[in-house]
Symmetry: C2
Subunit: 302 residues, 2 copies
């Protein structure tokens, strides 16, 4: 199997995970957990989102979390930023890297940020300019790549145009979001085959949700295509606002375990990663969709 | 992606699923559920196991279940049979097809049936002879192909010899069992590449457990290798006697959904399959590891 020997995992649990969980961690718990995640060998943690508190009450403490966590050398601490006001707070917290987001579906984007895609790209340009000016790298999420809860399949030419716009702003990486976890391996292959006609695949990260249990299968196809960066969430925390009962992002724990058994290096210490659950186990343990953590938790109970 | 356009799913929930569940269905519930499964387009259902009741109390009613279920035309009703006594009962119930089993690990086999592999093959030969004499096809499970809880990795030459013995008995299909769900896609590819040097891949079925969440990824690689027959369990029922908290077989529901989104035909009606949960939902619903059924159950609650 021709797949990369090393890959990078970008941990999005403290942001994408927690923003979709009903159970809210205290600020102290979030900080302790992120500090623990920093000790696992993860090289990238998206620690919070600087969106207005009324949008996502669970992350209202973004500034305190981002300002208080310990910064381990070699780890990039990133945050999601929707606009210039969010960026101001992110800079106040001295966040390492700025993540911006736009949907490839007009309807989904409108419902998400109450703006057209075009207007959203204008806002992102402003955020990117400012971020780059302060010497920070900017990463872009493009969501609903494999299907939208409102519009269904999204035209690939439209997706390419959005990616083009983001790259022209100096954004270094595009995270292709399977927002509702509907992608299938055949579609992932087809999409990447198409995208690589226009872009080097090295600019892409894959962001799969495990809604239908095929997140790891979709990652396998992405590996076969040569993609080396993957977003995932500790324990599989998250869920999906469009499907009650759904599991969240692909679980970092299960992903790391699969990769290591396939001799793909991640730089992550599996044991340390498993132990990082302890900080949040009491509150979120029942919500872990990670297969590995479900077994670990059962072992502890015995 | 070069994968088969049609595949066969062999439903093992009523046997492999129920034998590993703590919750025991009544005989009436089992019969009603199997009758319902017969209406989904499934062409093969392993309905029970004719092992001594003291081995698996949950399937002590094997004879009554197998004798009472309605037989739908076009559906093969199979049962697991450990020895000639089990076969007698299976024939009494007029089971269509006989499934025999042996482990590729000497230790696992010993713990499972208290016999050496060689002695087990002698017993299987007796069962196969008798079954074939009555005009019934015989299918063979070979377990711990990708790793054993006692012995770790099993030598492939040893596995090949066991397969050879079974084929020489007239067994038409070998189901390669990932008994503890430890296989990874790289290993599956390697194993099938090796096996196809000695056997046509068309004699193999893949039997994955989803212990670590990579069952569908392992199936994807098997599809890429050209395998067209897969064992799975309704709802992902089952579990693993060696890992408390583990999910069971790959969930038929999630597998069918993935295959259909990839335009692979299974002959199964997804809606009818989803509805088949209702018969057992009250007792086993909480045990469904199927992502699809977890979402469906949440939708019903709302």
């Amino acid at each position: 199997m021709d797949i990369p020997s090393h890959i990078t995992i970008k941990e999005v649990g403290p942001r994408d995970g927690l923003q979709n969980e009903k159970v809210i961690l205290s600020t102290k718990e979030k900080i302790a957990w992120i500090n623990r995640l920093s000790q696992t060998g993860l090289s990238y943690i998206e620690v919070t989102s600087f969106v207005p508190a009324k949008w996502i009450p669970a992350l209202a403490d973004a500034l305190e979390v981002a300002s208080t966590i310990e910064r381990k050398k070699g780890v990039t601490y990133a945050a999601l930023v929707p606009n210039i006001y969010g960026l101001e707070r992110a800079l106040q917290a001295n966040i390492d890297e700025i993540n911006v987001f736009v949907s490839s579906s007009e309807t989904h984007n409108k419902r998400n940020v109450n703006k057209s895609i075009s207007d959203t790209l204008d806002v992102i340009k402003e955020v990117a300019d400012q971020s780059l000016f302060t010497g920070r790298k900017v990463r872009g999420y493009v969501s609903t790549i494999f299907g939208c809860p409102y519009e269904g399949k999204i035209n690939l030419d439209k997706i390419k145009k959005i990616i083009d716009s983001l790259l022209n702003m100096g954004i270094y990486e595009i995270s292709l979001g399977d927002t509702i976890g509907i992608a299938n391996p055949l579609q992932v292959e087809h999409t990447l085959e198409e995208l690589k006609k226009s872009f080097p695949l090295s600019i892409f990260a894959m962001h799969f949700h495990n809604t239908y249990g095929r997140g790891l299968a979709n990652i396998l196809v992405s590996l076969q295509q040569g993609i080396t960066t993957y977003d995932s969430s500790f324990g599989g925390l998250g869920g999906c606002p469009y499907a009650a009962g759904a599991s969240g992002n692909v679980a970092t724990n299960d992903l790391v375990n699969m990769l290591h058994t396939m001799h793909v290096q991640t730089g992550i210490d599996e044991r340390a990663l498993t132990l990082a659950r302890r900080i949040i186990d009491d509150k979120l343990g029942k919500r872990f969709s990670s297969h590995l953590l479900q077994i670990k938790n059962e072992q502890v109970k015995k």
